[in-house]
Symmetry: C3
Subunit: 364 residues, 3 copies
């Protein structure tokens, strides 16, 4: 089946109304089965996830060799160009993509100031994306509106310059590269043995893109158990719960983090994302007043309650939901700083795989 041609025939409404599983054929590479456009975490199956973790691990190792290793990596995508189009600010996601691209030899450019963009001149988002594709070989898109990365993939599928699009977070929806980061962190923390783990997710489960994406990926593992701990108005939404039920993934809700710490293989903390509350004055003003309720905070004494092999994760940035001392405790179970660097390496793996260079990395 010629995907490109098929994609060309679909209107935006037809495309966006499809279910995720039906969209995949328009997004993945028809030959390799690996993602070409990366929009949502349902595109990744156990095989792909495992491949990406291996490629990340190998690239990291190669990079330790300053001369030959780094030159090899930088030669993989030498002479190609990446655009990071960030209409919604995120310093860490931006830097993580930029450096990953540069490690592979791409020239990386970031636009993070919407006022410098031609949107200011009334150009449609489709046109802007089509235009940018003239200069680049890869585009990551982060946007406050849901579906913008999808719109990008759809427009470029229609055009004669079909470059890959990676969703760097759009709307309150998905954030697949962060979800991959989390899987890779689990992979590293448990020597590749993710099956059967109990993950406690804490905080803003309603709006947290990371916990939503990660939940979708659980279907690729056996006997996972999810415990959701959140304020009543920020509970995990029904679409995820339905998904988990459908895939027979055990999950329940708890009201107090303290009571479930000892059950966890993984404690996954998240920030209350009150910047989405439009009525609030500004995120900064908010931040000052923000005090998470005690039941949803990780206090430093919880380190004593955690299992010896367990890990404490957070997609960052964090505020007061984790006691400050925890991050500088030197406790090896506190992995959220390493999680960030993992994010860079899994993006290296993702981009290498999109451009079909994964085997070259593994063979080095």
């Amino acid at each position: 089946m010629n995907i490109k041609k098929k994609a060309h025939q679909l209107s935006w409404l037809e495309f966006t109304d499809m279910e995720e599983k039906d969209k995949i054929v328009f997004l993945n590479n028809s030959k390799t089965g690996n993602p070409f456009h990366v929009l949502f975490s349902q595109q990744f199956n156990r095989t792909t996830l495992s491949l990406l973790c291996q490629v990340a691990e190998k690239a990291r190792l190669i990079h330790k060799n300053r001369n030959k290793g780094r030159k090899f990596l930088k030669n993989l995508l030498f002479g190609t160009y990446a655009l990071n189009f960030f209409a919604q600010p995120s310093t860490r996601t931006r830097l993580s993509f930029e450096i990953a691209e540069r490690i592979l030899g791409m020239d990386a450019t970031t636009i993070d100031n919407p006022s410098t963009s031609s949107e200011a001149k009334g150009e449609s988002m489709e046109d802007a994306i089509r235009t940018f594709s003239s200069y680049f070989d890869l585009m990551t898109i982060r946007h406050p509106d849901k579906g913008m990365a999808e719109l990008g993939a759809w427009v470029l599928n229609m055009s004669d310059r079909r470059i890959p699009v990676i969703n760097g977070g759009s709307g309150a929806d998905q954030h697949p590269s962060q979800a991959l980061t989390d899987i890779y962190t689990l992979h590293k923390s448990f020597n590749g043995e993710i099956d059967g783990r109990t993950i406690v997710m804490v905080g803003d489960l309603a709006r947290g893109r990371t916990v939503r994406s990660l939940s979708y990926l659980m279907k690729n593992y056996l006997d996972m158990k999810l415990i959701f701990v959140s304020p009543p108005h920020l509970r995990m939404k029904d679409d995820i719960k339905t998904f988990l039920l459908r895939h027979d993934i055990a999950h329940w809700e708890a009201d107090n983090l303290q009571e479930v710490v000892h059950l966890a293989d993984v404690i996954y903390m998240t920030r209350i994302q009150d910047e989405w509350d439009k009525k609030m004055p500004t995120a900064q003003a908010q931040a000052k007043e923000y005090k998470p309720i005690a039941k949803y905070r990780f206090k430093k004494e919880y380190l004593d309650l955690m299992q010896k092999h367990a890990v404490l994760m957070h997609p960052l940035p964090k505020r007061d939901e984790i006691d400050k001392e925890v991050g500088y405790s030197g406790d090896p179970r506190v992995v959220f700083w390493r999680q960030e660097r993992n994010g860079m390496w899994i993006r290296v793996a993702l981009i290498a795989t999109i451009f079909q260079k994964e085997q070259e990395v593994l063979d080095y």
Copy 2:
């Protein structure tokens, strides 16, 4: 004649009061006759235009070879540094220059946020430009005020660090690299045979820098015919009409695009640049209300009226002046997306030529 010395003796008022044709000796390379500083389209004659189109074409071809070709190009200006100083936002012009510079191996830096600049500390524009020249080998300048790129060229001619300046658009005046883009697009569309064509220019002819620059360049070709279609208050200005009369270039005005579509070899659409109307609230607010009058829009059914060999151009960004479907129709006569990529390649040719590397490219 020692241009540098001569230039040194001219005050800013003496320099800026000269006619364009007299300024050229201070801007072009005295040995090659090709532009050193690139300020306005009158600096380009038929020979230079033809050379640039050939260099662009060759560079594009070389770049298709991922390994040897791209390395050859990136070696041409290896270890040199370009600054894109954009006091007026333009994502596409910015990206087009950046990638062109990088294709040639330059390290490209862009400043597009005037508030980060030292203008905020009360520094004069001359000093800012002289300062930037300390770190760079090339500077492109885009500025809302007319004459800023010219000021840059004048200051650097006076200094002991005379690096080339390219006008990336200043004021409502000129935009020479876009004009080169258009010439190269004509060159590609008609296999180098531009003489004798009929170009229909539509929209904001009073303020459109692109149509003004392109009109100047028409003097380099034989038997050109220009048809201007615009709302009465946005007609092509008298300075251009006088220029065309002086060079005996046929031109007339029409009131309705539909009636002249069939005459055109080239239809050159432009956007109504209402962001220059200072009374208007903001460009974004404007954009919402903007509805070009039907007589100055390209409707999708006009594709049927166009000649088979004709092309539809637009400097982009566009709004509603072209029906959205046209851009995704797959019709090969719709060349405005390709025009953007042409812009990148002609900038590669321009920069290579400024640094006298054009022959090296052609000889590859």
Copy 3:
């Protein structure tokens, strides 16, 4: 002594309350004695300053060789990554660091828009710095609040990813890389013979980070004489005067630049930094009204009063404190433009030395 371990044990209050001379052991490289973190000018002794000037001079020479030389330099830190985190705008300091990093082969990224940073999400500065260190090998920090670069060095000393931090200016405090620029400019202007010179410092001595840092460095030279010329409310502060007394460095105050011009080996002009006056509307508005009092301006006729071997310096940006003609007079004693380029080269030397590549440069 294991510095890292020791540093790890200090709380932020303990660290920041120490005297500068006691902090140095936590900032300099224990093996080489050269700075690792670069926070304040007291970290540099005569030997280090002399080394840096030699390395800068040699790197400059190597760079003149376009092919082999530039490739050698770019290979020194190939495959490493630098972040310039500029929470306070400064185009020239930013560009100077960026290009210096790139000359050495680092990939340089700059964040200069605090609103794109995760501070907007309420993250602490410590966390932000710890996060950025995940992706980079070097960080320069410029911040309106005093002590931010120091906080960065302290946080990273505590972490398991201890990358070097360079203070790019924080608060009204210090600006060590600018002070190095000044020393290197003196070194070049007087063929390495700085001892015994008379330096006239003019303008905003109370808030000028550059004159404060430079004054500290004077203790490394013999028989220096400093003459301070400033409006009464902007006099050099007592902490510096106490320092000079303690190190027996001759200094006095004068009221009128004109009267001391002929005494100077160096005239060091500075801008009145009224952007720190929070009551003032905006720096731009200020700039328009700004008229430095005649007694603290360098008028073009002062060039006739200057000694033949003397030099006129300014850290730039300048406004009206120096007559505009002076900068374009072609007088070789006017060195402030060259000073800027010196700044880039001394940063090359500083970064090379931090990464222990100074000998490789000198041996080339």
